[in-house]
């Protein structure tokens, strides 16, 4: 069992180590489907569900899965939950399916999920893995909603380019520069190395 401090750190991981702006994982769905707030919430929650479930099962099976075949095993677990989400959304949320349907199967190759499986769930107990999944999933959703709000707002005042892919790239770049600035001011020494590498050695 982990102590309280570690639990708190894990729970805040989604903000401090935000998967999108700090770890720079899962950029493709971030840029493609943060064009509106509702798309962001839909894809964010779908990804969070898969992340929580895959973290739970990978953590449960971490002592059984042989090291050599762990990646294929993780991918099968993740793909199973993605299929569940895909079937659920297609059946019960037809509107959402029309707007983000093409990106739901691509949750399988979202690096956040495989990254958390490899870096966290395969090494930690079930409870903290689930907490990590919830925190990272909500962190991802929050980033998508933030970008969605900015892009939808800019499009509403006539700058429709911001809802296209081009706008996604630009808003993402500007927000990342802002995060660099804020994190640098907050704890300059810890982040300096990361920041001087331009965030590219991950």
């Amino acid at each position: 069992m982990i102590n309280k401090k570690e639990l708190k750190e894990t729970a805040l991981g989604g903000i401090i180590n935000n998967p999108v702006f700090v770890l720079v994982l899962g950029t493709c769905p971030t840029i493609a489907k943060s064009d509106t707030v509702s798309n962001g919430i839909g894809l964010g929650l779908a990804t969070a569900f898969v992340l929580i479930c895959s973290n739970l099962f990978i953590s449960l099976l971490r002592k059984i899965i042989p090291d050599k075949v762990r990646l294929p095993a993780y991918i099968v677990i993740i793909a199973t939950f993605v299929t569940i989400v895909q079937l659920f959304v297609a059946k019960f949320l037809p509107d959402l399916n029309a707007s983000i349907g093409a990106f739901i199967p691509l949750i399988v190759v979202n690096c956040i999920i495989l990254g958390r499986a490899e870096a966290f769930a395969s090494k930690n107990d079930v409870l903290s893995s689930v907490i990590d999944g919830v925190s990272m999933g909500l962190g991802f959703t929050l980033s998508l909603v933030l970008m969605g709000a900015i892009r939808q707002g800019l499009a509403a005042i006539g700058l429709t380019i911001f809802q296209a892919t081009a706008g996604g790239f630009i808003v993402f770049g500007l927000l990342m520069a802002l995060f660099n600035y804020v994190l640098y001011k907050a704890d300059g020494h810890k982040r300096r190395v990361l920041f001087e590498n331009g965030g590219e050695d991950r």
Binding site: V24, T27, C28, I31, A32, L71, P72, I75, V76, A79, T80, V82, T83, Q86, L87, A102, P105, L106, V108, V109, N110, C111, L114, I161, A164, T165, A166, G167, G168, F169, I170, F172, G173, L174, M176, A177, L178, N180, Y181, Y184, E196, N197, G198, G199, E200
Partner: protein, 194 residues
């Protein structure tokens, strides 16, 4: 299949529906491996190769195994497993057959499994309802579009090394903004009709 239709598939795959800059798939390798021109070319060609073979194999399996057996809902699991197996096979075969090519691609090969451009194209081909020839042409042109985006980005970033960039924009932020401007140029060509 008429020639003009094939040509429009090529143009849309390479330029107007560019997989990276218009559909925003495969951005991780696009940002990660575009620091230099040569590595960009290597990654682009490796992805093109895997893309063509995987969408062809996925296409055949989908229409000749999954549809007759009524297991269409297994599409995602089957496709990702095919891609993972293919990348692993390619790794083994290239190591044996052409060590020089393997050494130049080696680093990127393993990454291709989690490149969403590959799974995305395999899924798109099914949802567009292409026939087998169009599938291959589409996959080749998507791969070339990916390579083109990587090459342009590589060239720009090689020059950006020596230019003065605001402190907090160094690295990824400026690369993303550059990509945004490139994306505007590519989507500006979206009005091309045949």
């Amino acid at each position: 299949m008429s020639l003009t239709l094939l040509l429009s598939v090529v143009i849309s795959g390479v330029i107007t529906n560019n997989i990276v800059l218009v559909q925003s798939l495969g951005i991780c390798p696009f940002l990660g491996v575009s620091k230099k021109l040569d590595s960009g070319l290597g990654m682009g060609l490796a992805v093109t190769f895997v893309l063509v073979i995987s969408s062809l194999v996925c296409y055949i399996l989908y229409y000749f195994v999954l549809v007759p057996l009524d297991y269409v809902y297994l599409q995602t699991i089957v496709f990702i497993l095919i891609i993972a197996v293919l990348v692993q096979l390619l790794d083994i075969v290239l190591k044996k057959v052409s060590p020089s090519l393997y050494n130049s691609l080696g680093v990127y090969l393993a990454l291709i499994t989690t490149n969403c451009a590959v799974l995305g194209t395999a899924n798109n081909v099914i949802s567009y309802g292409y026939d087998i020839l169009t599938t291959v042409v589409h996959a080749v042109s998507v791969g070339l579009g990916f390579t083109l985006a990587l090459l342009i980005m590589g060239g720009i970033r090689e020059r950006m090394e020596i230019s003065r960039i605001p402190k907090f924009f160094k690295g990824l932020p400026i690369a993303l903004i550059t990509a945004g401007i490139m994306a505007m140029a590519f989507s500006g060509l979206g009005g091309l009709t045949f």
